[in-house]
Symmetry: C2
Subunit: 259 residues, 2 copies
């Protein structure tokens, strides 16, 4: 597999998240306009971003940024490479085999990773589709050990509460079989943590993970109020003695219906 | 690029969406448990799935399905291929170049696509990570022309209302520059439509796109009440005269912050 590397899961995961942004953008529109009879006067300031942690941008600043989009975009002919059917079948099979190697690994070594690889990961994530091509994302790459440890403290404190109080018994039990808990050593050992913030450039709802840590992490990393934590990705090589749960995947016939 | 084909955007997009599922799952937990002081008695029945379109599964059925997860999963050693730094840099650059070719194409031809390619696309999507490995998704592949046209009718009717009433002026203006509107000819011409439904196997919030069409499409396709439309993907080759907006992407320094 020409493209496979141990970092492939990171590429894929980052790109994946970003589609969520677009979905939520669409949905946020719906919720706001259906529950309120009149349009909001400043709809681009999302209620959910008012997390009480200060650092708010003035609305005018947000406004200016939003208007930065070009008004008219010329349309240009599009031509894609057109493969034979046999080639397409072969390529799609290879792509499946590549991505089927992806695993969530909780045992990460501290072996350094070239920064150029991280740069390419984020360049790649930046190719994700976004609603009206607003590209509403910021990737914060944390390599500073002190900051990484502060992040671990924030996450572990909230996660302990999540596991003990906020999550249902079923969910906790489900996680138990994968042996995950609120201790996240990899937040110290991974050479990089990538935190994805989504910017509030329009009307949409927001989500953050890890559960409940968003506001504190945003303040720690001094991100502006129009950004909200979307995801935290520890990036590193697997440890020599890394293990993963021996999971299988549902067969195609269990997940696909053809009509 | 060994793996690039004109269907790459579809692969990527499908996989992307699925991460959203996991994010929302986590977040749904938070919302429910923080707004209500006592745990719900039947937390796996999501309020949002009660869309008034009938076909509800009995709670016991859902319960049974949920308990289908194995209790104990052995952990096995994990070893990934470990490339030299030079190889990693090269591979990550190739991966960027591959994904940078992805474009959203609204002009799709009716040229048939081999079913085996669609199967591989969905097999690939099925490798996405999911919370506690619940794999809570169903991919509905629609090739029947009558069904495709019914889908188009449902989507266009709601989208016209979305554009005219539900979406803010800014959002509509933003879309105008990309020349998108509520007319979706590609829902008829694409040889396949893939509709992704997410299953409600635990506590999480749900989102659907296209805006407001979810319940009707679920009934049309006779999906059970514990599934909710997540995404509708038309799949086809670009038309010979296809165009795309001449967009550029933000440079790395505009989207990345290193700490």
């Amino acid at each position: 597999m020409a493209l496979f590397s141990s970092l492939t899961p990171v590429f894929i995961t980052i790109i994946c998240i970003l589609i969520g942004v677009i979905l939520k953008k669409t949905n946020g529109e719906k919720e706001k306009h259906e529950t309120k009879s009149k349009p909001l006067s400043h709809p681009w300031v999302d209620e959910d971003l008012k997390d009480g942690t200060g650092h708010h941008l003035e609305e005018e600043e947000l406004d200016k940024e939003w208007q930065g989009l070009e008004e008219n975009v010329p349309h240009v002919p599009f031509s894609a490479e057109h493969y034979t059917e046999a080639e397409m079948i072969k390529r799609s099979k290879m792509f499946y085999e590549l991505l089927n190697k992806r695993r969530s690994v909780r045992f990460l070594s501290d072996e350094p990773i070239p920064r150029e690889v991280i740069d390419n990961v984020i360049r790649t994530a930046g190719t994700s589709p976004s609603g009206a091509h607003t590209e509403p994302w910021t990737f914060v790459v944390v390599q500073d050990p002190y900051l990484k440890h502060k992040i671990r403290e924030i996450v572990e404190e909230e996660e302990e509460i999540n596991y003990k109080k906020r999550m249902g018994d079923r969910w906790v039990n489900d996680l138990k079989r994968l042996r995950t808990n609120w201790i996240k050593e990899y937040l110290d050992t991974a050479p990089y943590l990538i935190l994805i913030f989504k910017q509030n450039v329009g009307l949409y709802t927001v989500t953050s993970t890890p559960l409940n840590c968003g506001p504190q992490l945003r303040v720690l990393l001094q991100r502006p109020a129009n950004e909200k934590l979307l995801l935290l990705l520890p990036v590193g090589y697997p440890k020599k003695d890394a293990t993963v749960p021996a999971l299988t995947r549902k067969p195609l016939e269990d997940i696909m219906v053809v009509m």
